[in-house]
Amino acid sequence: MKLTEDDLYRASTQFKHWSFTPSQLAAQRQKTNIQASERVKAAVARQRAQRAKHFDTASASESERNGTPVPTDRQVDCLTVAEEKKLVDTFCEKAIDLGGFFKFPIEVTATGIQFLRRFYLFNSPMTYEPQTISRSAMFVANKTEGHHLTLEKYAAGFPKATTEQVLAPEYLIVQALRFNFDIRHPFRALKGGHLDMIEMARGNITPLPSNPEPALDIHSSMLKLPRKPNGPETNMTVNDLEKRITDAYSHASHILKTAALLTDAYFLYTPSQIWLSAHLLADEPLTLFYLSAKLPSSSPNYPKILATLRSCADLLSSHHSFSSPTTTPAEKQARDKKEKEEVQALIKKLRHCRDPDKMDLVKLNQAQKRDAVDAGGLEESKAKRRKLEREGYQKEADDFWGPELPRRENGAKAG
């Protein structure tokens, strides 16, 4: 029984559960947004009704006397889908800074960001605040990537975050990820491709079973690759070519560490396609040549793959972190500033449309646990019942097995 590389990817949860078409992605975000805003509105209305009732009974006459009208409540102004997405993207960018601050390996940061993006595909920032979620998602990512650090140390890195605050949304996140912890990153893939290209540049190529072209031919045509698409032929030495490949590698690696993480690339494309498109952005003639060495251009898949890579490259280059040679630093700065202002406004807006039920995650988390007393009256009675039940079980067990043995020092005193 034979498997191809593609079959291996098809078996991953990333392909099975976390790959979407663009329309599916948009529809899901729309759905999440509608659900969340309905919930926020309902919760706020409920809260207001409660407050109004309280107000009526206590100080209705008073307010009449003073002449201050009861403030008419405005409809809650919820975030739109685009605004939500922008917020999530912003917090993903902040997560990169966070990873840099803690000096996490890039895999950890990247996993944390993808956790965050997956989480907010099915949850809204209005329901769960991105800041707390991103903190916990990063901590979960640390654990899944095998880069362990203690919770205390991690929480101490934040100006105001307790260990409980980091842990509270953890189960929530893990559940929203549907317990799929495996994230396929393109980083190692890029390294593999780089190794392959370097070997190719040095001329030791074993012909592929699907493409039995003589190795020498590939090598000589590789040395003549133009610098730019449709540019004139060059005549490079092997060293020049190696340097060119290494440059392309570092550029592509930069793209993978920024733009690829901050766009929907992981949802829409496979890691192999992502790294190849990043490489395409870094050095187009070289990547195209490499592709044609892997897959003959006569193959029916070739145009399809090329189209996929180009659309992925468009997605990557559309991100504002991608600096193409045409944008000047001043332009970039202006754009960044505008972006920052927009985000500030959004965060302000978010403050007014948070779901009041999900404000305090720590409390909610505790309420879920055993013997939560600090919840409402109903919860209290429940907790009491649980406690009584447990005592009953204990008593039953004691009747059967006998009570617990006395402590040693008591026994010693008695003897």
């Binding site: 034979k2 593609d6 990817y9 189960y171 393109p186 893939a189 592929l208 699907s210 890691p271 192999s272």
Partner: protein, 327 residues
């Protein structure tokens, strides 16, 4: 308990003997020797005390000292009884012996009826032995059956081991090969010896040999398949389409790892990294997410049409998403 009651009712030796507190051989009672132990021999199941056994049988086999019993007993086979009733003790022993020889299970038979017939035969044999009906003939048949089974098993296993030997590596050292050949020669000899002892030179092939019993519908025993070497991937293997892993690569980001003691000490092999990195570079190369997902969704829609709604909602992984509300 019996001691107390016997003392209360006066020393009636008959009663004591019935209770089993007096040795029928030396007539010493538990009253005088509280540590007395009684032993039986499965040959005749006559009880006697430990000291009698020591006294009579230490010098080798001797006839049973109980009057009327002429059996020759050996000391090694004396044991303390498990059941109070010696008849039960004897029946259990017989059943154990029969079960060891007649050990077919239901899966060895073609039909349940055949198996039931077999069980009935086993029960008949057992009761014949217990009630001592046709003792000679039954014992003989049982012995023949046991030998036939043994011969069958041996021939099976020796043929299996011969098969293993023939498939084993041919480039073994010549003397080890000779040793193994010698061994298998000995095995073959013992097999032929045992079959000749049963007075049936070729018991299975001839078919007319007396195996004691003949059961209808008994499946022929097949040698178990020789164990294959363990394959962690269950027969699956990776066949790369787009790359060929070279034995070594020389790029600056791996030159450090090649000589780094921290990498090498743990058994880290760079070749694993090469194959993994190259595999990852092309895993998903030809997977077109859009097309495949649309195809998958269509497949799901089809399935929803054919199957029930509930079953479909289980199969569609995407539908179970809003499970976040645990609070």
């Amino acid at each position: 308990m019996s001691r107390v009651s016997s003392r209360a009712s006066g020393t009636s030796t008959k009663r004591l003997a019935e209770d089993g507190d007096i040795c029928p051989v030396c007539k010493s009672s538990r009253y005088l020797n509280p540590n007395m132990r009684f032993l039986v021999n499965p040959e005749c199941y006559h009880r006697m005390c430990e000291s009698c056994v020591d006294r009579i049988f230490s010098h080798g086999p001797a006839p049973c000292p109980i009057a009327g019993c002429k059996r020759t007993l050996r000391k090694a086979r004396f044991r303390s009884q498990t059941f109070e009733d010696l008849k039960v003790e004897r029946e259990v022993d017989i059943r154990r012996r029969v079960a060891r020889v007649m050990n077919k299970t239901e899966s060895d038979f073609e039909t349940l009826a055949d198996y039931n017939n077999y069980l009935e035969t086993v029960e008949t044999v057992t009761w014949n032995l217990i009630l001592k009906i046709d003792l000679e003939a039954t014992e003989r048949r049982l012995r023949l059956w046991e030998e036939a089974q043994k011969a069958e098993l041996e021939s099976l296993y020796s043929s299996a081991s011969r098969r293993v030997l023939s498939t084993a590596d041919q480039d073994l050292q010549s003397d080890t090969q000779r040793v193994i050949l010698k061994k298998s020669g000995v095995q073959r000899k013992t097999v032929s010896h045992s079959s000749s002892a049963a007075d049936t030179p070729e018991p299975t092939a001839a078919g007319n040999a007396d195996t004691g019993f003949r059961f209808h519908g008994l499946k022929k025993r097949v040698a178990p398949e020789p164990e294959k070497p363990f394959d962690p991937y269950g027969g699956w293997s990776l066949e790369p389409q787009y790359y060929v892993v070279q034995p070594d690569y020389d790029v600056d980001f791996i030159t450090g790892a090649k000589t780094d003691i921290h990498h090498l000490a743990g058994g880290y092999d760079l070749r694993d990294f090469y194959s993994r990195a190259l595999c990852e570079a092309f895993s998903g190369f030809g997977v077109f997410v859009q097309d495949e997902i649309i195809a998958r969704e269509n497949g799901v829609v089809e399935r929803v049409r054919t199957e029930t709604q509930a079953a479909a909602s289980v199969t569609v992984g995407v539908r179970d998403v809003n499970m976040d509300d645990v609070f």
